[in-house]
Amino acid sequence: MATIRSHARVHRNADDVWKVVGDPTRIVQWFPGVTAVTVEDNIRTLTLAAGLPVFEEIVTLDNRMRRFQYRITGPLPVKYHLGTMDVIEDGEPGCLLMYSTEISPDPMAFVLDGVISEGIENLARMLNDHTEDER
């Protein structure tokens, strides 16, 4: 089991940030290589740029804690996965955006680490620039 984590400070209040992070359909705005998304009940389906679908189960959508958790269920070669996004008010101006992942097999961590880091950068930039409603 590998664990990876990315974070960014966002110069917006946590409620504003949670409006984007807590909406599972908005991943298409900031996650690299995602061209389409559908959500039905607790199943999210992404379509990647190469046409590959990714099936996910939404595990947690906690508005009070501002926590979103999901699992990749296929067809990427994943044996175990739990992705967690937290929007944290930590007493500093703005808020902290934390994206943690537990994944097996280990080589998938390499693949996700870079793309998640890029995604978090995209998300923070979009929120800091107040452009989330323009996309």
């Binding site: 290589g33 990647l48 740029a49 990427l76 070669p77 080589p107 390499f110 680490d113 870079g114 793309v115």
Partner: protein, 514 residues
């Protein structure tokens, strides 16, 4: 009209693979003809012994510490300098056809330009190449070659060895007649195989040029890198049962293991299957189980692949000749790193700085029209590196090598090498594996000695090293690191290494395992 440049690379080829360097199995008459009419470098080394760092050195002319691609999976930034851009700006038409691997191959999110172009079938290139058509070792992935197989011959997808297993690890599934890892008898017809595809696409690109165009074409064959799955129609070329075992393979187990035990401990740990420090070596495979027959069969497969490469080169040369360009054609032939191929009872590659992986074939056949005293046949014994390629291409094109290139134009003979101070070459290894394993090697080759020091990591405490006398011990079986009589020499080499090595400024994120 200037000189044309055909830069030919293979992947993971040993120095002794070709006839011009003493190889006596694979028939390589075209490559040998470059040596017969040009300059052979008998001590050419990569700056790193895996693909992405080494190829990044070729295209930038920089040390690994400068371009920053310190292990496979770390992409070369798009804004990095490129010799192709220099030549393009000088009026050259530029192309890269075959394996690039400046960016990760395992890219399901299509984050990297080379994969995006391959997936879409776009060929506009980048990094200064006007044209790119890319390939890797099989039908998987997002290269132009995999698109070709997917679109034109989908029935061939399953014919190739499946490199990754269900755990996304490099597969150790046995194959061939001997059950060696990464061998498969591949039913793919020869003209669908990537070696011939690379030659076909190169010829097609050349056909599109005007007669008076100056051009630089990097023709980059993915073989003889594992998996060893050449078209089975070609297996008749070399009967593995008839092959001698490599001279670097001590056949007596006790002798073999004593040699490995004289080296830093990660050698034995890998041999026993207790540590894998390179993703590309199957992590479930135990080298100690490797049999003599498996070594013979792996070698036969590599020889077959090398013959196919040579014949593909011959087709491209004929096409160039038909265009009337031969007299103005410079050819540079090399590879990115070597392969154990049975030496020490090992296969593949990793943090092991011995000649199996570090001594490369490198030949420069200057254009017959070049004159200037560089038409003579020569063998250069002084050390050169792959970082010397980019400034050499600039010189051929009549362009001053930019200051950001850290290599120098290749010497044309030993006298030139001595006059210009080609005394040493350095090679490095750094890796951080997903399981936390870290290994760091710094190596200098000079005065016919190879000296490697190990920086502290998870396996070494920083006191370990290797020192080999290449004259008395050409197979590097006697580690002199702890020999008191060689202490002064060792210290001198380490001081020279420290003075000439470019340390990485940062360890950028690996974005994929490979």
């Amino acid at each position: 009209m200037g000189r044309k440049i055909l830069f030919i690379t293979t992947d993971q080829m040993r120095y002794d693979a070709i006839g011009a360097n003493g190889g006596n199995v694979a028939r390589t008459p075209n490559i040998d003809s470059f040596a017969a009419n040009g300059i052979s470098y008998d001590r050419a080394q990569p700056q790193n012994v895996v693909c992405m760092p080494s190829r990044s050195t070729m295209v930038t002319g920089q040390n690994v510490g400068t371009h920053g691609v310190w292990m496979n999976g770390v992409p070369l930034p798009v804004e990095s300098p490129s010799v192709a851009a220099v030549l393009h700006d000088a009026g050259y038409r530029t192309a890269l056809i075959g394996k690039s691997h400046f960016e990760p191959l395992l890219d399901p999110f299509l984050r990297f330009e080379e994969n995006r172009q391959g997936f879409a079938g776009a060929t506009e290139g980048h990094r200064g190449f006007d044209h790119m058509e890319l390939a890797t070792h099989g039908a998987a992935g997002f290269t132009h070659y995999s698109r070709f197989i997917r679109k034109e011959h989908p029935e061939a997808i399953g014919m190739f060895f499946q490199v990754l297993d269900g755990d996304l690890e490099v597969s150790d599934v046995p194959g061939g007649d001997s059950g060696a890892p990464q061998i498969k008898h591949n039913a793919v017809p020869r003209d669908w195989y990537h070696t011939d595809w690379v030659a076909d696409r190169t010829i097609s690109w050349l056909d599109g040029l005007k007669a008076d165009d100056d051009w630089f074409c990097w023709m980059s064959f993915p073989d003889p890198h594992h998996p060893w799955d050449p078209p089975e129609s070609e297996l008749h070329r070399v009967d593995w049962r008839e092959l001698d075992l490599p001279v670097g393979y001590p056949q007596n187990q006790a002798e073999r293991e004593a040699i490995i035990d004289s080296k830093p401990r990660h050698w034995r740990l890998w041999y026993d299957g207790k540590l894998v420090s390179n993703y590309e070596a199957p992590c479930k495979w135990v080298p100690a189980t490797l049999t003599a027959d498996q070594i013979r069969e792996v070698n036969a497969m590599a020889h077959i692949e090398n013959e196919l490469i040579d014949e593909a080169i011959g087709r491209v040369l004929a096409a160039i000749d038909a265009k009337g360009w031969s007299d103005d054609l410079d050819i540079v032939f090399t590879t990115d790193h070597g392969e154990f191929q049975g030496d020490f009872g090992l296969l593949f590659k990793g943090p092991y700085h011995v000649d199996s992986l570090m001594r490369l074939p490198l030949i420069w056949r200057p254009a017959p029209s070049a004159g200037g005293g560089i038409n003579a046949t020569a063998r250069v014994s002084k050390p050169v590196g792959l970082l010397d390629l980019a400034p050499t291409f600039c010189t051929i094109a009549g362009v001053q090598p930019p200051e950001w290139m850290e290599g120098r134009p290749l010497p044309i003979d030993d006298a030139d090498a001595v006059a210009r101070g080609f005394e040493r070459v350095t090679t490095e290894w750094d890796n951080h594996q997903p399981d936390g394993t870290e290994i760091h090697l710094r190596t200098i080759m000079r005065d016919n000695f190879v000296c490697t020091t190990y920086q502290p990591g998870t396996v070494h405490d920083g006191t370990e090293g290797e020192l080999y006398d290449l004259v008395l011990d050409p197979l590097q079986q006697v580690n002199l690191w702890d020999d008191p009589e060689r202490r002064a020499l060792r210290d001198e080499l380490l001081i020279d290494l420290a003075a000439n090595f470019v340390e990485p400024r940062e360890f950028r994120h690996a974005e994929a395992p490979v």
